[in-house]
């Protein structure tokens, strides 16, 4: 259950829109289902009051939308940022991807967003409605009713939340949090401890589920390239649909490498994956390696920091030493 209620945000949005500070609002809106909350641009008070949503399903990170929206907008854009979203926000600023002057960022507290798949695991298929309150109330078409604690069905990324601190905003609603001790690398370490055959089997079974819908890429705040290499016939890796297992690996390895050192670990890729592939485990592997090889680095923690792959020291670890001390 979120600490702040929708009305606070609606009030904020309407007042900023009406006093002319911003010309539009990036917010959440209900989709086809109660749990299917999607990003939307609001330009009128009426629209906001009628359709603006803020509940336990508002996982979407708006940072990425600023790249395109700021180009077209005549005035400032109001954006609501959860603490994790602010890291992406900063990373995009570091990469000069949007004009800070055109954004009015409001930091909002977040108690963690829920994972509909975990709810489904409890309720089964056929969810007809979901209400977010003290508890999450789920009704199914089979006339069953479930009362679920939000804390029991958090998204993976929220379970292992790395920071409640907002690293960027113009205005903060609620209390400021802090950087947390996170166990987010535990899964990676578990995989590392497996034998190569076990790892291969794990990834083969996970990645073979990929239907190459590109949702991970499209949602990723680090994937804002003017033209994606996967859409560029000259890049050597262009492909639209998975032709076979290998290309899936290729796609995900290259994507992970492209965002290595830039990925803030916002977890959007795994959240949106319709096949539930734990894609964050690829990104976290790079983050873990970077931390271990080159010292702790959190992308987006500050604007203008030099990404680990655009940096070096003369005493860096040799590729041959990467495996030292890591058993076979």
């Amino acid at each position: 259950m979120q600490k702040i209620n929708r009305n606070v945000l609606v009030e904020k949005a309407v007042s900023l829109l009406e006093n002319g500070t911003v010309c539009c609002v990036l917010g959440w809106k209900k989709g086809e289902f109660d749990y299917d909350i999607t990003p939307a641009v609001f330009t009128t008070k009426e629209d906001i009051e009628a359709n603006f949503v803020f509940d336990d399903f508002c996982g979407a990170n708006f940072s990425k939308y600023l790249v395109q929206k700021t180009r077209k907008a005549e005035g400032k854009i109001l954006v609501f940022l959860k603490s994790c979203d602010t890291y992406s926000f900063n990373q995009l600023l570091t990469e000069h991807r949007f004009d800070r002057e055109k954004v009015y960022a409001v930091g909002i507290p977040c108690e963690g967003m829920v994972d509909i798949n975990k709810i489904r695991a409890i309720s089964g298929e056929g969810i007809s409605s979901v209400e977010c309150g003290e508890k999450i109330t789920v009704n199914t078409i089979y006339d069953e009713k479930f009362e679920i604690n939000a804390s029991d069905v958090l998204l993976e990324r929220c379970e292992s939340c790395k920071s409640k601190l907002h690293v960027a905003y113009d205005e903060l609603i609620g209390e400021e949090g802090e950087v947390l001790e996170s166990n987010r690398f535990d899964e990676v370490a578990k995989l590392e401890a497996m034998t190569p055959d076990e790892r291969f089997a794990f990834w083969q079974s996970e990645l073979s589920k990929c239907i190459r819908c590109n949702a991970c890429r499209d949602v990723c705040p680090a994937c804002t390239c003017e033209k994606c290499v996967f859409d560029n016939p000259k890049s050597g890796v262009e492909n639209k649909a998975p032709a076979n297992e290998f290309e899936e690996k290729m796609f995900h390895i290259i994507r992970a490498f492209h965002v290595a050192g830039r990925c803030t670990d916002c977890g959007e890729c795994s959240r949106v994956c319709p096949q539930h592939i734990p894609l964050h485990l690829l990104n976290r592997k790079f983050i873990k390696d970077i931390n271990e090889f080159y010292g702790d680095y959190q992308a987006g923690a500050e604007v203008g920091s030099r990404a680990p792959l655009a940096n070096y020291t003369t005493g860096d670890i040799e590729p041959s030493e990467v495996f030292d001390g890591r058993g076979e």
Partner: protein, 664 residues
């Protein structure tokens, strides 16, 4: 679609011996875009090049693949050929089927198969080549000579003579190098000092030449025509501009027990010293390791006696930055250490010496004032044994010596033997040799005179062991012609130690990115045709840093290096490398990652207006590359997340085409 011609070179039997060149030409004919293929004994010869030119015209070729030696060898040649035939020179690709195929693989089927694959990769690349035009860069009209021995001196004088400014950097306090330590020179027996010191004076007096003595090069940046060099002038604690070289300080300094390296530590000097009377610059230097004033602040005698007020105990190392158009390496040689050859008892007896030490012992300015006396007891040696090839011509598995012939030892030993017999006819002189190598003008005649006129005993055989026995040295050796094992009681044994490049050469090569062989000799751009140029453009080689050489050869090479430098400095502009990075503005995110990794600062960002498909305009931040500054490493191309940055001549598409061709 390209129209590609494939030209397979036999390189005599170098390629044709292990590669079926006809089969290669045939196979490549079937590759996409190939409209012509031929093979020829020597593609790099005029006839071979004519063949290429004719084919370009006859078949309207738009691209050329030459299957031949390394592109490091002849890429430039074939690019010129293409240009002469009216083709853009960058439409040429080389498949290296010699160094990386025929020379490293043994049988014909293997060699042929690989050569075809390498050829296919080159064809695949040329299919994607586009004509490139190089940019231009200015030339700094000043040369740097590193090393002030006879090689550096001659090179500097010749460059200055052509009207260009030259700086010499010498790590010792004086120029002159090894030649300044020698007594006489073969085969004419001129006194080394008599012919060298006038040249040193010429250098000192030449307005175009600056000498940085007691200095070292610490950093080299830039490229041909535009080198930025940092020179460290080591603190000598004497103000060069004030010191008159009167020598008063060197006589009064109370610290007398400083090993005199100029005399190979066979005598001592003072803590403040001028290496020898004719030193250039004739300026005193303080040895900080021994000077009491510098070590514990007590003394100051030199400062008191210096009328010119030149002593400055507070002097610090000074770093000078200078721009040069060309750099000449003249770092020279040293005899190898005799530590690993103690069968000759060098570390067990003072009377076993090296040939360079012998030079000092016979030099009028040496520790014995030119009298040949034994280091142990100062007695005149009655029997001297010279041992040749100590540490030279060793097997590669032998960890003690060098594989090469040191070249100068046969002649200087003949000189030493002859001069000894000339000055001291009562002295018995024996030379143990394996072969006497005298391929030089008047060299063999010189050696024969030593034997026939001066009565030097030449014995074919090696010394196995030198046994110090009281005052004597028992030399146990083979006489292979008599079939005897000899035991000679000698008073002095002189070892012709192999020579090796100076230890400063390797770090310097690293700074210059110039290549070296396994012995640390600098490699030439071509062993026969470009012997005084390094493969790194703008870096030239003079003297023994490139290989063992005697004085006439060194001077000849020094002059040759100078002429190459003059040829470079005479140009106002150099055409650059067109293989530079280029950003596709439509794809550029403006993220600045490339800017961060570029080692040359060649990338800048600008806001640019774009017309969008909906006819609106958009201002976006995009990267742009300065082609004159970009050196073409390609680091930015990989750093770029969107793939907007590419490298001309090594485009991603081209490399991928090569990968595909190889993996097909």
């Amino acid at each position: 679609m390209q129209r590609i011609g494939v030209f397979v070179c036999w390189c005599g039997t170098n390629i044709a011996g292990t590669v079926d060149v006809v089969a290669v030409a045939e196979a490549l004919k079937k590759e996409p875009g190939v409209v012509f293929s031929a093979n020829y004994q020597y593609m790099c010869s005029q006839a071979g090049q004519d063949l290429i030119k004719a084919a370009v015209k006859e078949h309207n070729l738009t691209g050329i693949v030459v299957c031949s030696c390394s592109p490091r060898m002849h890429e430039a040649t074939f690019r010129k050929t293409a240009a002469a035939a009216g083709l853009n020179p960058y439409m040429v690709e080389i498949a290296n089927i010699r160094e990386q195929c025929s020379w490293v693989h043994k049988d014909v089927p293997t060699g042929t198969e690989k050569a075809i694959i390498l050829g296919k990769a080159a064809v695949a690349k040329v299919n994607l080549n586009v004509p490139l035009t190089p940019g231009e860069s200015p030339v700094t009209k000043r040369a740097l000579v590193i090393g002030g021995g006879i090689a550096g001196i001659q090179t500097a004088l010749d460059i200055a003579d052509a009207g260009f400014e030259v700086d010499i950097v010498e790590k010792k306090p004086t120029i002159g190098g090894k030649m300044a330590q020698l007594d006489k020179t073969f085969p004419t027996l001129d006194c080394a000092a008599c012919i060298l010191t006038p040249k040193m004076v010429d250098v000192a007096q030449n307005e175009k030449i600056r000498i940085f003595s007691y200095s070292e090069v610490t950093e080299v940046k830039g490229f041909v025509g535009n080198f930025d060099v940092t020179i460290k002038k080591k603190a000598r604690y004497v103000k060069e501009e004030l010191c008159t070289g009167c020598g008063a300080c060197t006589e009064k300094c109370p610290m007398k027990k400083v090993p005199n390296d100029f005399n190979l530590n066979m005598d001592t000097k003072r803590a403040i010293y001028i290496p020898f009377a004719q030193a250039v610059p004739k300026v005193a230097t303080i040895d900080a390791d021994y000077c009491n004033m510098l070590k514990n602040g007590k003394c100051g005698v030199c400062s008191k006696v210096c009328a010119a007020g030149a002593i400055d105990y507070t002097q610090k190392d000074e770093f000078i930055s200078e721009k040069y158009g060309a750099i000449v390496v003249a770092t020279g040689f040293n005899p190898i250490s005799m530590d690993k050859f103690d069968e000759f008892a060098y570390n067990q007896s003072k009377d076993v010496i090296t040939s360079l030490e012998f030079e000092r012992l016979t030099n009028a300015a040496g520790p014995t004032a030119g009298k040949l006396l034994r280091p142990s007891d100062g007695k005149h040696p009655e029997k001297i044994v010279f041992v040749q090839c100590v540490g030279s011509r060793c097997d590669a598995c032998n960890e003690k010596g060098k594989e090469y012939c040191s070249k100068i030892c046969c002649m200087y030993t003949a000189k030493h033997a002859m001069l000894t017999r000339d000055k001291y006819p009562d002295t018995d002189v024996t030379v143990f040799y394996i072969d006497v190598r005298t391929p030089g003008k008047n060299f063999d005649e010189f050696y024969r005179r030593a034997v026939e006129e001066y009565g030097v005993h030449y014995i074919k055989g090696m010394v196995g062991k030198v046994i110090p026995d009281g005052e004597k040295l028992i030399v146990q050796a083979s006489d292979l012609i008599a079939g005897k094992q000899l035991k000679i009681d000698a008073d002095l044994v002189v070892l012709a130690a192999a020579i090796e490049p100076d230890k400063s050469a390797r770090p310097l090569a690293t700074m210059l990115t110039a290549s070296m062989d396994t012995n640390d000799f600098f490699t030439e751009a071509h062993p026969k045709l470009r012997p005084v140029e390094s493969p790194t453009a703008g870096v030239f080689l003079s003297g023994a840093c490139q290989g063992p050489k005697d004085i006439p050869e060194t001077v000849a090479q020094a002059g040759a290096a100078a002429s190459k430098v003059i040829g470079l400095l005479a140009k106002d502009k150099l055409t650059g490398n067109p293989c530079v990075a280029q950003s596709n503005e439509m794809m550029c995110n403006g993220c600045s990652t490339c800017e961060r990794v570029c080692p040359y600062g060649a990338i800048t960002y600008e806001d640019k207006e774009f017309r969008m498909p909906d006819r609106s305009t958009l201002i976006r931040r995009v990267a742009s590359v300065n082609p004159a500054v970009c050196q073409g490493c390609g680091c930015c191309t990989v750093a770029c997340p969107s793939g907007a940055m590419d490298l001309k001549g090594f485009a991603s598409e081209q490399i991928i085409a090569e990968v595909d061709a190889i993996c097909k």
